[in-house]
């Protein structure tokens, strides 16, 4: 690992990018539907573009990169305008300081790994790029691969090289188009930790396209849900998932994400306590270290409500809170209840009859019982 006085030369966004964010107003005519997106993304962290295949996720990325000649609208990254229809301005791709990681391995086959990594470096003007390459090589653990041909790399290794190559140019924004899609499902664990590390250590905004719920849960700080070329929901990932007016199901069922930190471990019962803004929950001990930041995924169907503090129950996790609102669920017999717990929000799926019998309504103080919690990381 790096020495204590080591200064990271990995790209970090200039302040105006962090403050102003990424303003995207994009229109693109397509065969099935027209893409029409008007959205401002945060200038830090990982924005995940989520949606079914063919919803226009990749088109958004390609428009930002200037790879779609028919794209019109306006693109502003921090204080730099890359495209503005009204001013007849459209920078070609090679003049946009961005990094792009394509879905399939896109390494140049006629160059070795080192040649690939240096390709962008030679064309950039950033004097810090060379040192940033050294940091990117270390960050992605590809130091031993430099003299290999791309043909001699595994799928995961190829994508790590492609990511390092994009990072080394010190881009103002990093665009990742389903970087794990072409990798064997069992091998994804080989690269997901590197992406998490990037989210935490690389200080430039990243836009990550995926249709994998797992990647949303593990990587997203900001979530944009696309459907047929339109933005259906957008916001900080926990807010979007906990919204009940436009419920967004990421994965097999409605769930919320809680950001937390490992507080203590109970070795005798193989449990660990994770604190989050609003309380703490016991989870199965996965061998993590105390203080580590983790994410919890709680399915709405695993949360139930009582009006009194539960005792004599097998469910170990219960938290006090208040009912924020009660909305219809897909099934007429059921309702989604939005529960406030400190600064966090949980969702509970319960029957309409239970709500009537308990007599809860918006504002009621209740206890929530959490039957199962998934540790995402």
């Amino acid at each position: 690992m790096s020495a204590p006085d080591h200064v990271s030369h990995l790209p970090h966004a200039p302040d105006e990018v962090a403050d102003t964010g990424l303003q995207l107003q994009l229109q693109l005519p397509r065969a099935g539907f027209d893409l029409a997106v008007d959205i401002t993304l945060p200038g830090r962290g990982t924005t995940v573009l989520y949606g079914p295949s063919g919803s226009g996720k990749t088109s958004v990325l390609r428009c930002v990169a200037g790879l779609e000649p028919d794209c019109t609208g306006r693109i502003q990254i921090g204080d730099r305008v890359w495209q503005d229809e009204r001013r007849d301005l459209c920078l070609p791709t090679w003049r946009r300081p961005l990094g792009y990681v394509f879905q399939e391995a896109s390494l140049f086959e006629h160059l070795d790994v080192r040649g690939n990594l240096h390709y962008g470096l030679r064309r950039g003007i950033d004097p810090l790029a060379a040192r940033s390459l050294a940091d990117a090589i270390e960050l992605l653990g590809i130091g031993s691969l430099l003299d290999r041909s791309p043909r001699a790399l595994s799928g995961g290794e190829r994508q790590r090289v492609a990511i390092a190559r994009a990072l080394a140019t010190r881009p103002r924004v990093l665009l990742l188009d389903e970087p794990l899609a072409a990798i064997d499902h069992s091998k994804r664990q080989e690269i997901l930790p590197w992406l998490e590390r990037m989210r935490d250590e690389v200080q430039i905004p990243m836009i990550h396209v995926t249709h994998s719920a797992d990647e949303v849960a593990r990587l997203a700080t900001y979530l944009v849900v696309l459907e047929a070329g339109r933005v259906r929901a957008a916001g900080p990932v926990a807010d979007v998932l906990a919204a009940v007016d436009t419920p967004v199901v990421v994965g097999e069922d409605t769930a919320v994400l809680l950001e937390g930190q490992l507080l203590e471990r109970d070795a005798s019962w193989h449990l660990a306590r994770v604190g989050f803004a609003g309380g703490s929950l016991w989870v199965a001990d996965a061998g993590l270290t105390i203080g580590q930041r983790v994410r919890l995924r709680v399915l709405a169907r695993d949360v139930s409500i009582t009006t009194r503090e539960p005792s004599h129950t097998s469910i170990q996790n219960h938290l006090p809170g208040t009912v924020e609102c009660i909305t219809d669920d897909a099934q007429p017999s059921q309702a989604l209840v939005r529960l406030r717990c400190g600064q966090s929000v949980l969702l509970a799926r319960v029957t309409r009859r239970a709500i009537a019998h308990l007599g809860v309504q918006a504002g009621s103080a209740i206890w929530m019982q959490v039957k199962s919690v998934a540790l995402v990381q």
């Binding site: 791709t93 090679w94 896109s106 140049f108 390709y119 064309r123 190559r165």
Partner: protein
């Protein structure tokens, strides 16, 4: 059997300086044609592989024409164009270069037209096989289009470049009709191996014709063999 024959090798070495002259001229013509074709065909093939212009199909058809046209047709029109009354002829005379028909330069121009499809098609296929992706990657890494062409497209299309060069060279060596029409079979200036063979046969000099014809046969076979091995083992061409 009683008939005294001169040793065939001596035919070429001694008496027939014409044969050596024809071989030398053929090699010069084929090398120059190949060099010119690579310069002309590469941008043309690039445009054909990537353009979305409506002119793409007609231009592609014109480039392919020499494959289906009898060489005499191509030669005839080139002769007219390059001749004293033709538009190119008028221009070259006005520039003080004289008339190009029945000269080596005229022959070179004819050969370039005649072998154009054999250079363009392998290059076009190679460029098409690369697809958009490597060029998009190059652009996202800051390479301007001309830079991406030389640093990515051309190296990736290397097997196509090699095939185009071999085919252009071999096809020029093997041309006959165009050479006869434009060149006029002038020894030392426009007489190539193929027209030399024709001359020998006309003059009933079968021994000399045999040596040159067999040489062409072996040469052509070797070229095709080399191409086949190239295709099977494109690893050769990898860096």
């Amino acid at each position: 059997m009683g008939v005294r024959r001169r040793p065939p090798l001596a035919v070429i070495v001694s008496g027939e300086a014409g044969a050596l002259q024809a071989i030398w001229l053929t090699l010069q013509l084929a090398s120059l044609t190949t060099a010119c074709l690579l310069l002309i065909a590469t941008p043309l093939a690039w445009w054909l592989a990537r353009s979305r212009s409506p002119l793409r199909a007609p231009v592609g058809a014109v480039v392919t024409l020499p494959i289906v046209l009898p060489p005499s047709v191509l030669g005839f029109y080139l002769l007219i164009a390059l001749g004293p009354q033709g538009p190119v002829g008028q221009f070259t005379q006005a520039m003080g270069w004289g008339v190009l028909s029945f000269t080596f330069t005229g022959l070179l121009i004819g050969s370039i037209f005649y072998s154009l499809p054999f250079a363009v098609q392998p290059l076009q296929h190679a460029f098409e096989a690369i697809g958009d992706r490597p060029l998009e990657v190059a652009a996202t890494l800051g390479a301007r289009p001309i830079d991406a062409f030389f640093s990515v497209a051309l190296p990736l299309a290397r097997p196509g470049v090699v095939t185009a060069a071999i085919l252009s060279f071999a096809h020029t060596v093997g041309e006959f009709g165009v050479v006869l029409m434009i060149g006029g079979n002038i020894p030392g200036r426009t007489r190539t191996v193929s027209t030399e063979i024709y001359g020998h046969v006309e003059a009933m000099e079968y021994a000399q014709a045999h040596w040159l014809a067999a040489g062409m046969l072996v040469f052509s076979f070797l070229v095709l063999l080399a191409l086949a091995r190239l295709r099977n083992r494109s690893v050769w061409l990898a860096p």
